[in-house]
Symmetry: C2
DNA sequence: CCGGCGATATGAAACGTTACATATGCTATG
DNA sequence: CATAGCATATGTAACGTTTCATATCGCCGG
């Protein structure tokens, strides 16, 4: 009886796909003339006599044996897989996050089950349902549904969205980032600041960027204008707003803080069309600082979110052994990076 | 004995995380006064008397029962999960692909296990190893390692990279896209075309873009220049090349085809710095046409890859029941979209 | 009224592991 | 030398499903 599973490189043609079952521990045990339990120990790195271990390892290699995670998971109730629930990996912020989380998890020996929800609260619930059936060891979610039902025994870490003290949330310091942007702009000589926002209808952590900005302006006795739009409205209102605030070729604002870099780039283009120079006439700061953006030639002065650290922190929190004293909110520090749309 | 598992919304504080085991089919069977096998049938939509079905369903709801995918997977050898192996989800092309594949899979009831390899051939092999242990039902891979060893019984679909006739590959028509770009440029009056490429050291499908471009030029009796760089060299050589080909304020080329949109945007910026106008002095066509790019204000004339269709096709091929007559290569048609860097 | 048939429910075996209680072989001790 | 004690291997019983052979039931024809 030949149980060995041959592997082929992708380049080799293999017409003969005969259906031989994958070898099991039982097969390895027989091949190595050893008890089943011993084989198990070897693959769990438990103490086993040196000669036994060698015999088992050789037999396993000969047969091409691989542990069956499903059998193991059934028995141990640990699957070494965690669910990552995101609205949309297409968004550079989310995809950078996904990258970080996925690799942090894999480094710790965990698999990532990716689900995307398209911002749909019901899809979010369906994802939760699905991954719970799939016995994941934990969930990292960037979700919006405030009524999400989750097995309370299952570790859950929320990114960028605070739910309750018992659900750890990690985000960057959005309020602080807003303050930082205001500070920079004023420091660089701006006296008529403007905050521009576009985003989801449901309020989220990123709203605090504007709050921080306004607060910092107020604190310095400077009044600040804000225009906050929802996705549905599109960019057009910004264009109108800017156009209507030009008098004698001069914009009513000389420093603009945009809620994201993507918005900043759009605004920059609008300003350009309106005959305004950046940063001479108007200075512009965005928010995100996604590396990929910059690599793709997409640069503006910005408040950098530490996405990698958010990812790492989320994973660390999720996998922490001692789950008794988890922080309910971890706010990671942001930083300023000039990118040509400010006078440094 | 209370077996019911209560779920909580994320917003509810739940201090009492008492450790009650999740209910099993056995519990449901007992609760419904029905045999184990009957419960199984209900959850597999097999024929069961109407009253029995109702009793089981009610009992299950009462207990909050959920199928344990691991036990099921162990028994059936089908896990309804597939592995998606990508170099890096941060790249907009890959993330759009991931989005499409993930949602196509979830629509068909499959989970996506995401692994990223950072273009490392050894990491690729480790991923394969890992997902095979995890008993996925198939693999969709965008990998570079030509010596990847894979269980030949496991369905594998390669994206954008051809390995052998027995491994289905789906990609967009890169050669045709190159031809299309050449045709457009020449049609729009260009007479001195240039092809610019930067990318991985290992050759891939996307090299055919340049081949198609050159071929189409040659076919029309027009000679074409090419500069092909590797990632390691960075963008600087392009800058030097362009600068050295300006004579009396006039560039030696009047139409440039870039291997990606990202490159096109960089080149555009360089041309701008060199005092050349786009599209008046030089016309520029990129390749990819990623929607997200455009949304982020990142626009150039381009050859659009049908990423969604690539994703759908890949999933369809992977999940196809009849695996006897799989195509070895599916080339999806690309299209041209003006974006301001050409005279339409 | 009985035997047989079709339909449907039942319960045990198996899937490939882990974990635990037991067996085995040694060494050290009185 | 007998044996307690230790270390290590063994084998079996779960884990929660599916599947299949068997049991049960109701119905119809003779």
């Amino acid at each position: 009886m030949e149980l060995s599973v041959k592997h082929f490189t992708l380049c080799e043609v293999n017409s003969m796909k005969q259906k031989e079952n994958a070898p099991t521990m039982k097969d390895v045990a027989r091949e190595a003339s050893v008890a089943l339990g011993t084989v198990s120990k070897v693959f769990n790195n438990l103490h086993v006599g040196e000669d036994y271990r060698r015999r088992v390892e050789e037999a396993a290699k000969r047969l091409g044996y691989q542990v069956n995670s499903y059998a193991r998971g059934l028995k141990t109730n640990r699957t070494y897989s965690v669910a990552l629930i995101l609205p949309d990996v297409t968004n550079p912020f989310f995809s950078t996050l996904a990258q970080g989380i996925c690799s942090a998890l894999s480094q710790k020996g965990y698999r990532t089950i990716l689900s995307t929800t398209a911002y749909d609260p019901e899809a979010e619930q369906r994802c939760i349902q699905m991954v719970q059936q799939n016995k994941v060891d934990g969930i990292i979610g960037l979700t919006y549904n405030p009524a999400l039902e989750v097995d309370p025994q299952l570790p859950y870490v929320s990114i960028d969205r605070y739910f309750s003290p018992s659900v750890p949330c990690v985000s960057s310091d959005n309020f602080g980032g807003g303050q930082l942007a205001a500070g920079k702009l004023l420091e660089l000589g701006c006296t008529r600041p403007l905050f521009l926002r576009i985003g989801s209808k449901v309020p989220g952590e990123s709203d605090k960027r504007g709050d921080g900005f306004e607060s910092a302006c107020r604190q310095r006795g400077i009044s600040c204008t804000s225009l906050r739009l929802c996705d549905e409205e599109g960019y057009a209102p910004f264009q109108d707003f800017l156009a209507s605030h030009i008098e004698e070729g001069r914009l009513a604002f000389d420093g603009i803080f945009c809620v994201t870099d993507a918005l900043a780039v759009h605004i920059r283009a609008m300003l350009c069309e309106l005959g305004l120079r950046v940063p001479e006439d108007v200075q512009l700061i965005g928010f995100d600082g996604i590396r990929r953006f910059a690599e793709d030639g997409f640069i503006c002065s910005t408040i950098i979110q530490p996405i990698e650290r958010i990812a790492e922190t989320g994973v660390e929190l999720l996998l922490r052994e001692d789950r008794s004293n988890l922080p309910s909110l971890v706010c990671l520090p942001v930083s300023y990076a000039p990118g040509g749309t400010t006078k440094e």
